[in-house]
């Protein structure tokens, strides 16, 4: 019988969430252990890098380009309004892209594109007994399925985010040139001279964490999926929503932490 006491309900839900978190971390630790045991499934890793990395290029390009353009437009407009000229447009746009928009936008987009794909694929394998079949064929599913996706995500997500940074900055440049008539040397010199390397590290550290979040959540949701086609649908939706929320929440925590230890303060 369902409990009607709100505190009891809250407690039960906290326990359920804690159980999921524990199981997901356990699975991740297992996959790290398997990743350290040779041989690595190199072909499988390459295949996943194509799926996760190469096939995400177009969506990352478009989203980064438009994000950079919007940022440049907003910064240029506000600084023209208050300061009389579009000051620090290159600096502001690039800093925002490197430290926040690049990692977060690419993280959110990849949790939708890559996370959904991983969960749906593994979930379908689970409900059609293909995961069980792997065991009977002497293959551990964590090593065969999780590890290649984890390695591919850990390499591809930061690379995609760096790519998004470059495209976003270029988007900002287009607006600086076309809308605010800022000469190219002014835009690029501002970026080269004023942005410090630790702003890049700030973004890269976040990229790695966001890649981890996507792979941990999507693989866990896929490998523990139950209940046929409906179950796969629910697991996929849940993986995307949970990944997105965790990316946004951890962005705040990571930003606070990184600023506290002096990475990205310049």
């Amino acid at each position: 019988m369902a409990s009607k006491n709100p505190l009891e309900l809250l407690g039960k839900n906290v326990l359920i969430i804690a159980n999921h978190v524990g199981e997901a971390i356990k699975l991740f630790v297992q996959s790290v252990q398997y990743a350290l045991i040779p041989p690595l499934e190199i072909n499988n890793i390459m295949k996943q890098m194509v799926e996760i990395g190469i096939k995400s290029l177009s969506v990352i390009s478009l989203s980064a380009l438009f994000t950079g353009m919007v940022f440049a437009f907003q910064i240029g407009y506000v600084s023209t309004l208050w300061l009389g000229s579009p000051s620090f447009l290159g600096l502001g746009t690039t800093l925002a892209i490197l430290k926040e928009m690049g990692p977060v936008i690419s993280g959110l987009i990849l949790s939708g594109r890559v996370g959904a794909q991983i969960t749906a694929e593994l979930g379908t394998m689970r409900v059609t007994e293909q995961i069980d079949a792997l065991y009977t064929l002497g293959t551990n599913p964590v090593k065969y399925l999780y590890v290649p996706r984890m390695v591919a995500c850990m390499i591809s997500v930061p690379l995609l985010a760096i790519y998004a940074d470059v495209i976003g900055t270029f988007g900002g440049f287009l607006i600086a040139l076309q809308k605010f008539n800022i000469p190219p040397p002014v835009y690029w010199d501002e970026i080269v001279n004023m942005i410090k390397m630790d702003a890049v590290w700030h973004g890269l550290i976040k990229d790695v964490f966001f890649g981890l979040i996507i792979v941990i959540v999507s693989c866990y949701k896929g490998l523990t999926c139950r209940g046929g086609a409906e179950g796969v649908g629910k697991a996929t939706t849940s993986a995307v929503v949970v990944s997105m929320l965790l990316i946004l929440a951890s962005d705040f925590l990571l930003t606070t932490f990184l600023m506290m230890i002096g990475i990205g303060t310049g």
Binding site: M125, T128, D132, A133, Y135, T136, L137, G138, T139, N140
Partner: protein
């Protein structure tokens, strides 16, 4: 030999296996019959530790698989081949890659030897020349046969059949039955099948065990089961809605 003693498995409040005791002898085909949801597949999967029981012993050749660490468990699992209810072919791979999968991961055979084994096993199940097709291009019966070819590719000691004839027309189902019988005769494989198809059960089995209410209700040769006086067994094999089994 497989020896199961005092096997219990529950999902929440639902007691699926409620003290199973069962022996499977070397070289025989034992079929477990029972209604839908009685836990036949769960029982089958506990034998290979795809489902971990709450308590009890599952001895494979004298080793309790439930107490093994992962590496040792994988060694015991490698003695088994399994035909899954929905075939469970890897849909991202071709038929040939599916059949070769276990050989590539569990043996040191060269690609040439693997290809030879793949062709031999596909021939054995009557499906030569389809190695480059994808599972989505196959009919249900062909998928089952490819799954069988994959299961026997590594010469397993035991084969588990989960509903081998379900979803197939009677003639295709009989082709699968003949394959199961031939495999037992030619390869001397010990087979455990679960089904609710009595035509198939009578044809392929040396012994039949009826699973009811989480326990083995009766076990015997096909003739003994056919002539059973047990009202539960009688109702099930006659396919009657009247009797002690309620739905």
């Amino acid at each position: 030999m497989i020896k199961i003693r005092g096997l219990y498995k529950s999902f929440g409040n639902n007691k699926v296996l409620n003290g199973i005791n069962l022996d499977v002898n070397e070289g025989e085909t034992l079929t477990i019959i029972g209604g839908s949801g009685e836990g036949k597949t769960i029982l089958l999967k506990t034998m290979i530790d795809l489902v971990t029981p709450d308590s009890g012993v599952v001895e494979i050749d004298g080793v309790d698989i439930t107490k093994l660490k992962e590496k040792e468990r994988a060694a015991v699992q490698s003695k088994f081949g399994m035909l899954f209810q929905a075939s469970a072919l890897f849909d991202s791979m071709t038929v040939g890659q599916n059949v070769a999968f276990g050989l590539r991961h569990l043996t040191n055979q060269s690609e040439k030897e693997i290809n030879k084994t793949v062709l031999k096993n596909l021939r054995m199940v009557g499906l030569e020349g389809i190695e480059n097709l994808k599972p989505e291009e196959l009919s249900g019966g062909m998928k089952k046969r490819v799954s069988l070819a994959r299961a026997i590719a590594r010469d397993p000691k035991y084969i588990l059949y989960d509903e081998p004839s379900t979803g197939l027309d009677p003639i295709t189902a009989d082709v699968i039955n003949d394959l199961i019988i031939n495999l037992q005769k030619e390869l001397k494989i010990t087979s455990i099948a679960v089904t609710h198809d009595m035509v198939s059960a009578y044809k392929i089995s040396n012994r039949i065990a009826m699973l009811y209410d989480g326990k083995i209700e009766e076990i015997g040769t096909p003739d003994e089961i056919k002539n059973s006086k047990n009202p539960v067994v009688r109702q099930f094999i006659m396919g009657s809605s009247k009797g002690p089994i309620k739905r």
